[in-house]
């Protein structure tokens, strides 16, 4: 069949808007002059050296990494049991649980951020770091619940019954039989939550405090004052790192289809 040229045109547009900005950023990060421009007028790696050595980026990068890691773990710890309960039991208010765990996806990040600010900062019980951790956990929890739920739905209940009939306590059957079979769902959930938390701006914007800030917030603030290629260089580094992680996970677990 001959491909309609309008289809090719649509494909081209889609590629242009998906990849175009990244290509611009990629080239702009090698720009020798001190303004962002495209096409670049030369080639230098000095912006990369600069951003890597800047303490404000170093510090916030480490913090963002920790925050993403901890909130993802916490979300798994809470989300997997929630998913298990909703998948395996019927009870009153099950729909409500499902709705609540989906809310953060529906509610605009700004609204959620403001709500969390009201709740935690004005309450003034937790430190800024704890508040950020709670906020990020709340925002990524739905991804864990959804992804785990999908895996559990595909796993027949009878294999748990088989394990129990063979002498495994329900908890043991969960660990030995359920977990290994929903592993893929959990790993893809982890990647989603990690990236979501690491990239998050609206929640962090409200909850960061003096001296404690995440990388995206620091980048935004920096851009308000300096319009040079260092942000482009940093972006290129982040894209490269993310791609690297995703490719690595894909190579190890072969789960590209789930992301």
């Amino acid at each position: 069949m001959k491909i309609n040229r309008w289809l090719i045109f649509a494909l081209f547009i889609a590629f242009a808007i998906l990849l175009g900005p990244f290509i611009v950023i990629l080239f702009a990060s090698f720009e020798p002059s001190s303004t962002l421009r495209f096409p670049p007028t030369g080639f230098t790696l000095s912006w990369f050296k600069k951003v890597i050595s800047m303490p404000m980026f170093q510090k916030s990068f480490i913090f963002s990494l920790q925050l993403a890691l901890y909130s993802s773990f916490l979300a798994l710890l809470l989300g997997v049991p929630v998913a298990y309960i909703t998948a395996r039991y019927s009870f009153r208010g099950k729909r409500f649980v499902e709705l609540v765990t989906t809310l953060p996806v529906i509610i605009p990040g700004m609204v959620a951020g403001l709500a969390l600010l009201k709740f935690f900062v004005l309450l003034n019980v937790f430190s800024v770091k704890t508040t950020l951790l709670i906020g990020h956990t709340a925002i990524v929890l739905p991804y864990v619940v959804r992804s785990t739920l999908a895996s559990l739905t595909n796993l027949p209940v009878s294999i748990e019954e088989a394990a129990q009939s063979l002498g495994a306590h329900p908890f043991k059957s969960f660990v030995l039989v359920v977990l290994p079979n929903i592993r893929v769902g959990i790993i893809s959930a982890f990647i989603m939550t990690f990236i979501t938390s690491f990239n998050n701006v609206p929640i962090s914007l409200f909850l960061t405090g003096p001296g404690i800030s995440t990388l995206p917030i620091v980048m935004m603030t920096y851009m308000e004052y300096y319009y040079n290629p260092s942000i482009a260089a940093l972006s290129t580094l982040l894209i490269g790192a993310t791609l690297g992680v995703v490719l690595l996970v894909q190579k190890i677990f072969g789960i590209s289809k789930l992301l």
């Binding site: 027949p156 009878s158 294999i159 019954e161 088989a162 394990a163 129990q164 009939s165 063979l166 002498g167 495994a168 306590h169 329900p170 043991k172 059957s173 030995l176 039989v177 290994p180 079979n181």
Partner: protein, 357 residues
Amino acid sequence: MAFLEIIDLSVAYQSNFVVLRNLNLSVEKGSFLSLLGPSGCGKTTTLRTLAGFLSPINGKIIIDGKDYTRIPPHKRNMGIVFQSYALFPHLNVFENIAFGLKMRKINKSEINQKVKKAIDLVGLTGLENRLPSQLSGGQQQRVGIARAIVIEPDVLLMDEPLSNLDANLRVEMRNEIRRIQQRLGITTIYVTHDQSEAVALSDQIAVMNSGKIVQLGSPNQVFSNPQKRFVANFMGFQEIASGVVEELQNEFAVVRTTEKSLRARMTTQLNTGEKVVLCARARRMNIDRRDGENKLPTQIISKIFQGENISLILKMPNGNSASVEVEPSQVEDLSEGDRVFVHIPQDHLLAIREEEE
């Protein structure tokens, strides 16, 4: 007291939908009992209650003198074979079978030995390292059986284990199951809706309907002497006429139908004046050109060639249709629309009480 006793067992879903009503059943040690019935009759519910996955609202389950009614599944020593096989997808054949032994904290060399023996018994030698997804349906169910028997269960529970297999394999596996069960002497409860499976495998068959056992007996009793209308229908009898008992002669009853009186065998004691249905199997009736004793006038509705024999669909005097299977040579000259007589030998015509409880 028998080895396995089910006493007054009632099970309900969501506390108002009663599936089993006061079920009583006893099974001797080493015997093979089938729960046979249509879907929704409560047979699987009975099995799941025995396994501990469902809690009864009243009644007791006693095994070897011990009350198991409130004991959780993992503390009951029961092997279960599932319709869907329910193998652990992430474990290979050996690990699947070894699972129950590992839970029992048996030492490694003993596990190896027992698993090897079970693999031998079900004929899977050489496939130890395969994953379930790399096995055929029949092989998967063999793993399922090995996994259930290797723990030396008190009772082996099988939930329609053959219904996901194709027809030829089903017969082969049926023989395998019987061989393994007899070899090991495991008390077995087998759930099925397939009467030929139940007849071929069982020592005892409990025919179930609407949460109750309708008839309990040996395969021969259930197959040849159904005592209830439901059992007769389920075991493949056709109702060819209905009537009233006129006279009793030893084990036979003379039944007056709208057409004429027929002699039929009784499977339960009947009284004169009782309303009965007359039941017969398609293969136990003959076609005749002339009227005579135990014959009914009919008309051939259709004639279907089935290879070894011919199936005639007949219109009975009471308006029902019944099928008769005969040798092709007997009916060569007959065609659709012809009026003939159907002869039912008195031994093969059953008189069964009409009312259904």
